[in-house]
Amino acid sequence: MDAALLGLSTIIIGVGGCLGYFYFSNLFLDRVLFPPKGENAGRNINRANQIRPWLFVFPAMFALGLYLGYPVFETLRLSLIDRSQDNAFVGFANYNQMFAEAKFWEAMRNNMLWLIVVPAVSTAFGLLVAQLTDRIGWGNIAKSIIFMPMAISFVGASVIFKLIYDARPEGTAQIGVMNAVWMSFEGGIGSFIFLKVFPIILILSFAAMVAYIGYIVLRMAGGVWVMVLKLVAALFSVWMVVLSVQSVWGVATANLPYGEPQQWLTIPFFNNFFLMVVLIWIQTGFAMVILSAALRGIPEETVEAAVVDGANPFQIFFKIKVPQIMPTIVVVWTTITLTVLKIFDIVFAMTNGQWQTQVLANYMYDKLFRANDWGVGSASAMIIMLLVSPILIWNIHNARKEMR
């Protein structure tokens, strides 16, 4: 059958089936099971009304149970057995095997990188755009354009960015924007400013920011737990500062291959960021829409009161507006975090985990469907779930608090 026809008939059967289910099940309830007549009419109406919600909820509960609930337990079971040994129970052998693999830790490390960078950058950009477009006439047009990537599938976006990162042999025209720009650097003063001074300033300001945040956290008062948290945060910021200084040294001393087209996606470590750009490009629109609505919800009078109190635009933004929409920022942040933890399509379509860009979801896919190693594949799936669950629960908790 023709694909379009097949699609159409699927829609008709699907929608018709749903309507039919609700219509006939309710009909059955009202006419046959508890008809609102006879001697027990009143009692029957009450009973029918008690059952009716379940008629509506049941299909969703059933589908969710079958396709989400059951697989969790089945995956757990699969991660604890070995199919090649007649489904024998092997305990944590699959997990141990996985933990011994370098590729798994690479995926873990990359996932953590994604986790730190993408939600933060997307939320920050989203907030920035939402604030900047709030008052200008063409703000809505700008917003629509920034929102548009949301409509593109991850794979589609990956294809677009693959073209941006594309490399052609030296001497031919570069169709990739990145290489076209890169080829215009020839090692002169302009290149020095853009590729040495500028990145160094960027890294140093990042280091300064991390150090400042660490300093603020250290000054917070609190009990034992807060002390522990403070210590962890402080160590983390020290580590970040050390890393930054190292990379400043690296940038300063690096000998850049001017004039040669680069295969961007094969440059270890940095290629992760080239992949992240795709997701940031998509998620900024999402963050912008939600945060822009939240910013609109701030009472204008509190902003005016701050103006009278002498606050400048930055103070108004950071001390009056941002704190008021903090709950929304947290929800946006965690929602993007969830997307990032499950990230698969972009890596799959652009590098397939090569050149040290592996992430957990793609690792799982590799194991399960390419290596046919059901044990390790399921084990990695369980790890992803373990990472996602707490954030998911927290996210739902926050979202519900928002709604109240």
Partner: protein, 373 residues
């Protein structure tokens, strides 16, 4: 501790003129109340003084300095908003500290000022609460506290009591009056819809209407000597009755033959040339008394409203759409349907010619809305 001077101030949004020709001198230590019908530009004028709205014409001086283009925070003003506008994520203490911290005042001084304001407004046990944990009245006090700590030259209030219930409104009104007494040198400008607030709090009232000032004066001035029909009807409740007639005698006393058949005598002087002119006689409902002989108005009582201390009598309209209203002291039963003749003390009879009171006949007539209610 400041005087304000508005010279020919105007405001327009594009081609829409909201306010024009506003001339006003406000002395140090005055409490000026802006009143007027909804949409007449009270808030707009206040916000122009605050610096939250651009002044599109004329000049605003605070303490002799033109401040048209000075940002709000440097005008030495503080504003209390109708919805309080407390920062919801900050405690009461932080709300009050905010402006001082922005101004980089040192911590000890901030602490001292907050303490002092908290003492004045009895906010001590609320300092560590968030605004959402406070009642309406308490929020209002915090909003006032937030302006007190800044020690401004001019306080601006935009309908600060309109979100409170009736009882709390009276209590807070008295608190504001006491606050004003404690700070005799601070200048306050207060916008309200509520006549009682205006009459009780104001040193002077500014009645705004139709984009301009209808009259400025002390509360009793406005009540006893309204400049035009608009102010006459706007101040006082129920509104002043306006009855048409023709001047028949002039001089120190003016005598008017009423269209409805009566005759009114007023102590307002008139000129010989006024004889035969059509005028409106204004009598407040509470100034009407039952007439033995000559009457100003005679009619059949329609509805009566017994309020206990007074009884309101509604008569058929005469020369206008509004019913004529009389207000008698005490309880009067069984007046309904009766024919009643009313008159008034000549000192309390106002005469308006072409909407302007004869008392102010030398002042230029103002373009104002024709109806108060």
């Amino acid at each position: 501790m400041a005087n304000l001077k508005l010279t020919d101030v105007a405001k327009s949004y594009g081609t829409v003129n909201v306010l024009k020709n506003i001339d006003l001198d406000i002395e140090t230590g005055e409490l000026i109340v802006f009143v007027g019908p909804s949409g007449c530009g009270k808030s707009t004028l206040l916000r122009m003084i605050a610096g939250l709205e651009q002044i599109t014409g004329g000049e605003l001086q605070i303490d002799g300095m033109v401040v048209n283009d000075v940002p709000p925070s440097q005008r030495g003003i503080a504003m209390v908003f109708q919805s309080y506008a407390l920062y919801p994520h900050m405690t009461v203490r932080e709300n009050m500290q905010f402006a001082l911290k922005i101004a980089k005042m040192d911590a000890a001084q901030i602490e001292e000022r907050v303490e002092r304001a908290a003492k004045t407004l009895q906010l001590h046990n609320l300092l560590d609460r968030l605004p959402k944990e406070l009642s309406g009245g308490q929020r209002q006090r915090v909003a006032i506290g937030r302006s007190i700590v800044r020690d401004p030259k001019v306080y601006l209030f935009d309908e600060p009591l309109s979100n409170l219930d009736a009882a709390l409104r009276v209590a807070t009104r008295i608190e504001i009056a006491q606050l004003k007494e404690q700070m005799p040198n601070s200048t306050m400008i207060y916008v309200t819809h509520d006549q009682v607030e205006a009459m009780t709090l104001a040193t002077r009232i500014v009645v705004l209407a139709g984009g301009g000032i209808a009259q400025v004066g002390t509360p009793l001035d406005l009540y006893e000597r309204p400049e035009n029909e608009f102010v006459a009807q706007f101040i006082g409740s129920p509104a002043m009755n306006l009855l048409p007639g023709t001047i028949v005698e002039t001089g120190d006393r003016t005598v008017v033959d009423m269209e409805g058949g009566g005759r009114a005598v007023s102590t307002v002087p008139s000129r010989e040339a006024d004889r035969g002119m059509a005028v409106n006689i204004g009598v407040r409902p509470e100034d009407f008394v039952e007439a033995d002989g000559a009457h100003i108005f005679r009619g059949k009582v329609g509805i009566t409203e017994a309020l206990g201390e007074v009884t309101l009598l509604y008569f058929e309209p005469q020369g206008g759409a509004d019913p004529v209203i009389g207000k008698l002291q005490g309880i009067h039963k069984g007046l309904r349907g009766q024919d009643v003749a009313l008159t008034a003390d000549p000192a309390k009879v106002h005469v308006f010619m072409g909407t302007q009171s004869l008392l102010y006949r030398d002042r230029p007539v103002k373009e104002i809305a024709t109806k108060a209610h």
